[in-house]
Every structure is written in structure tokens, then in C-alpha cells.
Subunit: 249 residues, 4 copies
Amino acid sequence: MKIDLNADLGEGCGNDALLMPLISSANIACGFHAGDPTIMRRVCAEAVRRGVVIGAQVGYRDLVGFGRRRIDADPVELANDVIYQIGALDGFARVAGDRVRYVKPHGALYNTAADDPEPAAAVASAVAAYDRGLPLLGLPGSALADAAQEAGVAFVPEAFADRAYRADGRLVPRGEPGAVIEDPYEVVARAAAFAVQHRVGALDGSTVAVEARSLCVHGDTAGAVYLAREIRRTLEDAGVTLAPFTAGS
Amino acid sequence: MKIDLNADLGEGCGNDALLMPLISSANIACGFHAGDPTIMRRVCAEAVRRGVVIGAQVGYRDLVGFGRRRIDADPVELANDVIYQIGALDGFARVAGDRVRYVKPHGALYNTAADDPEPAAAVASAVAAYDRGLPLLGLPGSALADAAQEAGVAFVPEAFADRAYRADGRLVPRGEPGAVIEDPYEVVARAAAFAVQHRVGALDGSTVAVEARSLCVHGDTAGAVYLAREIRRTLEDAGVTLAPFTAGS
Amino acid sequence: MKIDLNADLGEGCGNDALLMPLISSANIACGFHAGDPTIMRRVCAEAVRRGVVIGAQVGYRDLVGFGRRRIDADPVELANDVIYQIGALDGFARVAGDRVRYVKPHGALYNTAADDPEPAAAVASAVAAYDRGLPLLGLPGSALADAAQEAGVAFVPEAFADRAYRADGRLVPRGEPGAVIEDPYEVVARAAAFAVQHRVGALDGSTVAVEARSLCVHGDTAGAVYLAREIRRTLEDAGVTLAPFTAGS
Amino acid sequence: MKIDLNADLGEGCGNDALLMPLISSANIACGFHAGDPTIMRRVCAEAVRRGVVIGAQVGYRDLVGFGRRRIDADPVELANDVIYQIGALDGFARVAGDRVRYVKPHGALYNTAADDPEPAAAVASAVAAYDRGLPLLGLPGSALADAAQEAGVAFVPEAFADRAYRADGRLVPRGEPGAVIEDPYEVVARAAAFAVQHRVGALDGSTVAVEARSLCVHGDTAGAVYLAREIRRTLEDAGVTLAPFTAGS
């Protein structure tokens, strides 16, 4: 049994140093929605030092909105924005002695690339143009998963231990009742369920299979560090090996 | 006899398509002082199609001021800004089937890195960290030339056919009388003097040796395209081979 | 008979000096989608010198995309962006001896505020908060017209001489066949029809009433200056007084 | 005895709500070095609610560098950047029912306008153009004080309780030994010395007269809130009235 833990880093929040030892893959912001060159360099160096895999967390060009606002970008422009961000981060990964090993969209781009085939194709085509060997990390069953396959790019499905699932395996949208799981014990238990049983309880009481090779750990609150530590400990106690998904099976 | 012709491209002006066939090295803006991802991708693709070598034209983060205003950046931040820009452009060079093959500072950064050891060292250390094999293109005898040597990075000196030189081989500063040579015939003649005789008439009437492996062609006016064409034709008529400096001797 | 001619100025294109003498109201970009403080100051000074009324052309914060990309901004943030832009331009209007006298959304914000009640309400509420006496200039029958009324702000309808209308008075969407009228003679004739007869031929051959107190003149091509001059001349020949809509009736 | 307490607010740090009740004048960031429209609106509303005077804290356009890096801006551009920022904040002050009542440069602009007559003149001329009645708040004896007088703008001198002074009344430059006073008791005592005796102990042991109508309270650390509270309490205990300098004497 093996799973990856991924978290967003380099966004200028204070938890980077605490989260880094707990995860196996770092989604590092590339300066469009958060981060700047100096943060990128420092986080890449720290990731390499810790043996954490570097991923490009690509977003809309919107520092003011933290990448949380959809921008109705032309697909060609969007693809080029993604290439720019991967290239920029790859420079710092190279300086740190490694390279970008996967790509994950952030915020509004995560959502539009999950729901809408056009931005999904833009993101996947950008990755394919940059390096067909880079996998995309995202939501199983999403438009991005389809676009990755179409573009000849590997797709790695992730799961969210703090989000409720519907019986069909989709996330309950934020804003709907019960969408976010607040109880830390339940979050930890669900993380173990994903990793060990590859399934989780759905909101309607049924059990749903979720094939995830990575768990996304949210890191923007102090409690999130505690939660990440508990998830890590619980998974290790359950005999799950925590390792980057890029390490192969 | 052999020389390189370099020009600034990808800055959003209209002469890119006319200048590209005339030059051997393109200094491509990386989005900090000018350019954007879509322009960068298009110009890289066109450079590869034309056999023009791709260089990263790195500048201060100042779109409003077109990189012409000195920013008193911390050397560490400045170095990281340079790495970011090289990496971003390298992504588009890679997509176009090539890579960034040299680095040249733009505008205010060109001047501060020529005059001041601290930003010069920041730029040179950034290039060394990214890829010690990338040469820096700049002003002979400048602080950047020294910093490149210190950092173990090759330095390629360039000359300006439209600028007056002092007897000691330095440029007459803009703003001083006679600093810019307006007469196109004289500019063309001086380009030939650099390439064939490796020297040029100084403002005081003496003759000064200038070792340049590249001529910088300014491209931001319509007249500049005409001038570049005349320089190219005159050099070819004089038996000078126009070839990228990266091609070796 | 009286009508206003409005055009977008201060966007960094070269036609400002040629258009200014031809129009009565200038929609001046406020630095979010185009323009910068120095352009804003110069254009305000020139408008005051020419007796042209200053309007704040407010847009999404997107210099790279020229405000042509919808940003899914929170309505509160959007309203605050609009207030910021009006205030900034009002400073330069004040320095020039006048003030901002109306507000017109630009590009993607023009379209979203025309179609969608939520951004329309954000724009109208921003204007009402800043100065309830400022009218909004926009598309008759739009969501913005409704939102202005709701917010207690005057709404001034404009017409487009180079756009086809449907029988119900709405514009034929760009991209549909016949949406843009290319023939300059027809454009000029339609301008006169709006001003004199308050109606125009629709795409289906019927005639449609369009109550417009201003005609929008597009200014981003050289031909547009010629067109604006012809429209002005033709309207004056037809006995139409060209005057700012803010001048009252 | 009467003095003003001013602090930087609206910079996106977390102490705004704690500092606001302690000060009499708020230097509110205008979106160039920090802040954004939504923060500006909220802080202006809160200032009005608390009876705190609104000042425009104008800076270089450098969000990444937090306005702490000198930008070698053309004086005309710099003046226009200042007008833009004052106007933008004045919009939110207006929405909140008040207006901008003074201007204070931030960070690198504070320093360059204190030391260098050219940017000082640019800032003072911008304020004079916008509204000659707005005072400038800054360092006594600075280039900005001279420029304000030249431009016909009132200048209000401020003092720093946590900075050492030389015998000639200038600040000991940061970086020199003893430049920053770390001991909170001493900081509080010096605040009282400025307010009550109009003089303070210099680094060389002498006593120096400092005419300050405002004390600058630094607010970017948690300890700073405590310090501001102690300063306020101590001044009140000493019979000093804390009131905005704009309130007249």
C-alpha cells in the first residue's frame, strides 16, 4: 500500500516550513496567482533538501484575486501562460538540482479545467508541448483527465480527505450542506480509507470507489499542519508507504 | 571575418517580422519589462524557423516603465528575477525545438550591470546558477564583463554602430553632444569598421580598438529596419560572414 | 436635433490626438485594462483644452488581456475596482480643472454588465456610492440600464453605427454573419439615421427604434479617424448639433 | 500639549483593527506598494467610524517589493503616480463620508523624497496640483520639507520614538549601530520626550530639539500594537492630548 501526499506551497503563507516535512509532493506557486521568484527559489531548494518532489502549481494571472477568480482567457493565451509558469519554476528546480516533475492547476483554473473541456485542453496541450513526460495531477473523472489522455499526457488522480463525495464519485460542491468535513478525526479516517481501501463513504451513506494516487492536504490554516501530521502518522501506522506518485509503482 | 547581429525582439513593437530575417541572434523579452507568454511563444517559433539564435533579454519587473527605470533591487531578488525570466523563455524555446543560448540584460538593467558591480554580480551569478554554459552578451570592459569572469560564465562583447566611442573605448553617454550617430551612412560604415577592422573612430578623432563579437541593431523605429538591412548588405559585400556568436569560431 | 459622440481614449494607441477634436465625450482608460497615470493626465488636460467631457472608462484589472477577458470577480471586489478607477481618473480631471462627468464600462466588463445583473449591480452601486450624480453610459435595454435605475443613477443609452441591430433593438452578437458593418458609407448613413430619425434598419429588413443620446465611435484603427470625421461632417450637414450628453437637453 | 499619532494601515497585515483605536491619523496604502481597492474601502470606512483622519500613503509601483525598492522614475511619471494614488484613495474616503486630508510617502519613496530634491519636488508638485490644501507629512529638515515649501504646500514634521537621532537632529541611518531602539520602555519614554519637551537624547549623549507635530508608530509586528498602546497611555497620563495634526492648533 502506497500513497502520495501533496500540498500547495510557496504561496506566501507561513506554513511552508511545517508542511514540507510531512508531504511527498509540493505544488509550488509560480508567480501568477501567488509566489515570487525569491520564494520559488527557496521552496525549490527546501523541497530538494527534503526529498519532496517539485510540481508546478499553475494558475490564472491574478495576484490580487489569488487565482480564485475565473478569467475567461483565450485557450491559446491560457496554454502559453501555463508553459511560462512551468518554465519559470523549472529554472528554480534546475538551480536546486532537480526539475519540475508534474503539473497541477490551482484555484479557479483547477475548477475550470475540471469542468470545461476548453481550458482543460489548453492546460493539457501546454504540458504536452513543454514535456509530454510530465503528468498532470487533478480530479478523477474531470475534463482535465480526459484532456490529458487526449494530449498523451499521464493523469494522476487525487482525493480530498476533507471533502464529501457523491455516490457517483464526484465531490459535493462547496457551498452545499456537508461539502466540507470539519471533524479532524473523520478527515484522518477518510485519508486512511482512500489509501487502504480505495473507497470512501459518500454523503448519501453509500460507499464509493475512489482511485487516488495522491491525497491533497490543505495547508493554509494552522490547524491544517496538525491535520497533515495526523494523516501522515495514521497512514504510516496503517502500513501505508508515503511516497511521491512520480516514484512509480 | 565573421560577426553576429543581435536585436531586441518580442517587445510588442511591430518590426519583429521585418527584423528577424536580418539578424543572427534575437534578444527576446521575457515578460518583465515587455512581452507576454503568447508573444514569447510566437517569437521563439519564428526564430527557430529562421535559424536565429534565442537569447533571454532579462530586465527589471516594470512593464509600465518598459524596464528603463532602475529599480534598487536587493541582489538576491534581482538574481532570482533573472533566473525566473531565463526559465520562462527557455520553456518557449523548448516548445519551439531549441533552447535559450545566451542572456542579455535590457534597458536600465543593462546600464546598472555595466556600471555597478553589485547588480552585475547578481546577473552573472543567476546565469551561472541556471546554466554555466550560457554566455552573457554585453558591453566590453563593463562591470558585467568582470562579474561574468568571476562567476565562470563566458562574456561576449558587443558594439553599437550608432553610438559614439571615447578614446578609451567606452561609449559616450547618451545626452552628451554627439553621443548618438544619426547619419545612416555613417552608422553603416561604422558597422563595417567594427566587423572588418575591429576598431572605430572615436569622438576626439583618434581611432580606438573595439573587440566585438556581435553588433547590436536597434529595432524600435521603422528606419531601423532599413538600417539593419543596409548593415547586413554592406557587411556581406565586405566579405563578412554573419553568424551567431554561439556558433563558435 | 442633438447627439453626443463618444470614443475610447487614453488606451495607448496613437489616434488620441486625431480623435479628440472630433468627439464630444472621451471615455478615458483608468489604468486597469489600459492607460497609465501619465497618459491619463495628458489626455485629461487635452480633453479640457478641447472642451471634451471626461468619462471614466472602467474595466477589469487585466493589462495583459486589455480588459477583453471576463474575470469572475466577486461583486464587492468589482464595485471597489470601479470606485478606485473613477477616483484615480477624477484626480487627473481635477488637476486639469474639471472632473469625471460620467462612467462607461470597457470591453469584457461592458458585455458582462450588459448581460448579467450581478456585475451590472456592482458597477451601478459603485457609481452611486462615489457620486449619485454621475450618469452611466451603455447599451439601451441592458442589465446595466436596469441596475442604474435600481441604484438611482442616470443611464444614457448609446448606439453603434458600425453594428447591426436585430428587430428587437439588440445588437447582433459579434461573430454572427453581418454583425459588423464594414462599408464606411453605410456606417455614416446609420449614424445620421440614429441622430435624425432615432431608428435604424435591422438585419431582417425591418426598421427598429433606437433611442440613443450618444454614438460610440471606435477609434483603434487609422480608418476609424476618417470614419469619425465623416460621421461628424455628415451629422453637422444634416443639422444635428454635436454636444456632450452631459450638457442636458 | 498636543500631538498626533500616525501609523501605516491597509497594507494587508493583520494589525489594522488593533491599531486603528490607538492612532489619530491613518496612512492608508493606495494599491501601488500594498493594499487593494477592497482593503482601501474597508480601512477608510473604519477610519471614519473611529474618527481617525485619512492620509494617502503613496509609494512606488512595486507590489512585489512592498515599495521598499527605489525606482529611478522620471519625475513627471512619479508625480503622476502620486496623483493617481491620492485620487484613488480619495474616492474611498468620499464613499466613507470624508476625504483624504494629508499625504505621506512610503518606504523607498519616503527615503528618496527625504534625501533627493528631484523626487521630493515631484511629490510636492503632485500634491500641489491635486489640492494645495493637503499637507505633506514627513521628516523635518528633509528635501521633502523644502520642496513642500517651494510648492506652497504645508509640511508637517514627524518624529520616530524607536529611532536614534544624531546631534544635528537627523536620524541615525538604519544599519548603523544603535539606529533602532529596541527597548520598549525607552521607546515609550522617548515618545513622551518628543510630545512634552520637544527634544530627545541624541546618540552622542547630547540633547537635540525635534519639532514634531506627529509621532510615527510602526505597526507591522504584534509587539508594535502593545507599544502603540503604551505610548498612547503614557502620553495621556502625561497630559498630552492625542489629536490629528489636521485639527489645527
